[in-house]
């Protein structure tokens, strides 16, 4: 009979974390960018059916990178959590904070108790009545939660994309500006950096984009299909500065 090797807890956690991180870094990135009228979510995703960005509730949306079956599982759980809470209390009692906590506990428990951690990273975002009340929570594979301001990038080449967003993002962007920035950031990945020719251009057909638009009523989540993206991205580059929507 063979004796199992002793592996220190530090090593176990580190191995799990490396494993999860590698899985997450393999996929395409998702960016979340706040603008004056709400929050825009964008990802490079050629599938029309397998979404990375989804509606959770009236003011709350979900974006994820990593293994589809794992984050889909969490998305379904989130919709059930939100609908049950909204039905047994009131629609206004469903908050991103509550959901982020539930996800954090779930991811944390899976990371420590199960042999294979979830290879996912999530954003749970909620729009408020004004930009100051917006909330963006980023959750990683081990259940840590970060309260982000303005923008988040996760998935493959997250570092390069975050650098781009940090350089260009400012409060009070219009939807067109935020969208142009998101697409440019998605194109500024490691491959583009290696090629050294600036950001790749991404065809609108290859983009999955949705917004939480605070100017709508009740359900604020709205997907932006390719034709809408084309028109929003058309007068892209200049026209910065005028915050009028």
């Amino acid at each position: 009979m063979s004796m199992p090797f002793y592996v220190s807890p530090e090593q176990v956690m580190k191995d799990k974390a490396d494993y999860a991180r590698k899985g997450i870094a393999r996929g395409r990135a998702v960016v979340v960018v706040a603008y004056a009228g709400g929050i825009v979510f964008a990802s490079e995703n050629s599938s029309r059916a397998l979404h990375k960005i989804s509606e959770i509730y009236d003011r709350v949306a979900f974006a994820a990178v990593g293994k589809y079956n794992e984050f889909e599982n969490l998305r379904v759980a989130g919709v059930r959590y939100a609908d049950l809470r909204g039905y047994s209390y009131d629609r206004s009692d469903v908050t991103a904070r509550g959901l982020a906590n539930a996800y954090a506990q779930t991811l944390g428990t899976i990371f420590t108790t199960e042999s294979k951690p979830y290879e996912v990273e999530l954003v749970v975002a909620e729009v408020g009545a004004d930009p100051a009340a917006d909330q963006i929570y980023r959750l990683t594979y081990d259940g840590s939660v970060a309260d982000e301001h303005g923008f988040v990038a996760m998935g493959g080449s997250a570092e390069q994309i975050t650098a781009k967003l940090a350089e260009r993002w400012s409060a009070g962007l219009t939807l067109e500006e935020a969208l142009a920035l998101a697409v440019e950031a998605l194109g500024s990945d490691a491959a583009a950096e290696a090629a050294g020719r600036g950001p790749r251009s991404i065809d609108p057909e290859q983009l999955e984009v949705a917004v939480l638009d605070r100017t709508r009523s009740r359900r604020l989540f709205r997907r932006l299909p390719a034709p809408v993206l084309v028109s929003l991205l058309a007068p892209a580059t200049p026209a910065a500065g005028d915050a009028a929507d």
Partner: protein
């Protein structure tokens, strides 16, 4: 399943939340938190009576709803009165609700149970839409509502019936449709128009005479208000438009563009036209005056 109910000791979302498969909110809640659902309460046998309540202790009940198919979709209108026995329980109750973007429900019967059913139905449709990433078909929605009404059969037999009418724009068929129900959950597709509730007999009579195929939404709104007027004229449980307090019927128009509830200003104009048409002509005979009939 019962072991999984309640919070997981680790604080993670319980297993019921992550089980793949069902896109039904009701099915999920029945497994996870059945006490939240309307059908889970058991009542003693016999009819319900609240001692000392108004109207002989009966719970409030909602009355007349009319639905009309028009060229662009459907128009659904409900009066604003809730009654408890011989008393008026509420003057401005709302009985027409959006079920989702392209359908609505009008309720007649026991108000409390009906409102709860509508709320669950709204969540059920939204839940499906979010989980599946697609809209439920019109048939699917009508069947879900049917199941909910059947779930209330026990209470219906004790005198607490809920009889809604479901109407909406069928995006696949490209037209407005109306579905009526009985207390056992039987569903029946209605052609052209329908009315439910205590005043429905009179409203249906009016609809038969005033309905024309292919009417515009505006004409249908006029016909719906006329029909509600006729119901209120002869049924004490149906409230007419309250000009004194400015309480107008709830009127919803559902078209391919979605659900839209008419504003007070718009309804005031329609109601005042109907009232003017009925002056000296209480039966609303179409050839009697300038304003009668469908020529809105």
């Amino acid at each position: 399943m019962s072991q999984q109910r309640g919070p997981d000791p680790s604080g993670r979302l319980p297993a019921a939340f992550t089980v793949p498969g069902s896109a039904s909110f009701t099915d999920f809640v029945r497994d996870h938190a059945p006490d939240v659902l309307p059908g889970s309460r058991r009542l003693p046998a016999g009819t319900v009576s609240v001692p000392g309540g108004p109207g002989g202790g009966q719970p409030p009940s909602a009355t007349t709803i009319v639905a009309i198919v028009c060229a662009a979709g459907v128009v659904v209108a409900g009066d604003r009165r809730a009654t408890a026995g011989n008393m008026i329980a509420q003057r401005d109750i709302e009985k027409v609700f959006p079920a989702d973007d392209h359908s609505c429900v009008g309720i007649a019967g026991t108000a409390g149970l009906a409102l709860e059913m509508v709320r669950l139905f709204q969540v059920e449709l939204e839940h499906f839409e979010k989980l599946e990433g697609a809209l439920m078909s019109f048939e699917g929605k009508a069947n879900r509502l049917s199941t909910m009404i059947r779930g209330n059969l026990g209470l219906a037999m004790q005198g607490l019936a809920v009889v809604p009418v479901f109407a909406g724009y069928d995006l696949e068929a490209g037209r407005g449709r109306i579905v009526s129900y009985d207390v056992t959950g039987g569903r029946y597709e209605e052609v052209d128009h329908h009315a439910v509730g205590s005043g429905s007999v009179f409203a249906r009579g009016a609809l038969k005479k005033l309905f024309r195929p292919g009417m515009s939404a505006a004409q249908s709104v006029r016909v719906a208000v006329e029909a509600l007027w006729d119901a209120a004229d002869d049924d004490s449980a149906t409230g007419g438009p309250d000009l004194l307090r400015g309480i107008w019927p709830v009127v919803a128009v559902v078209t391919a563009e979605g659900y839209q509830r008419l504003g007070d200003a718009e309804l005031r104009a329609v109601v005042e036209a109907v009232v003017a048409g009925r002056r000296g002509n209480p039966g609303g005979r179409p050839d009697a005056g300038t304003e009668g009939g469908t020529s809105a």
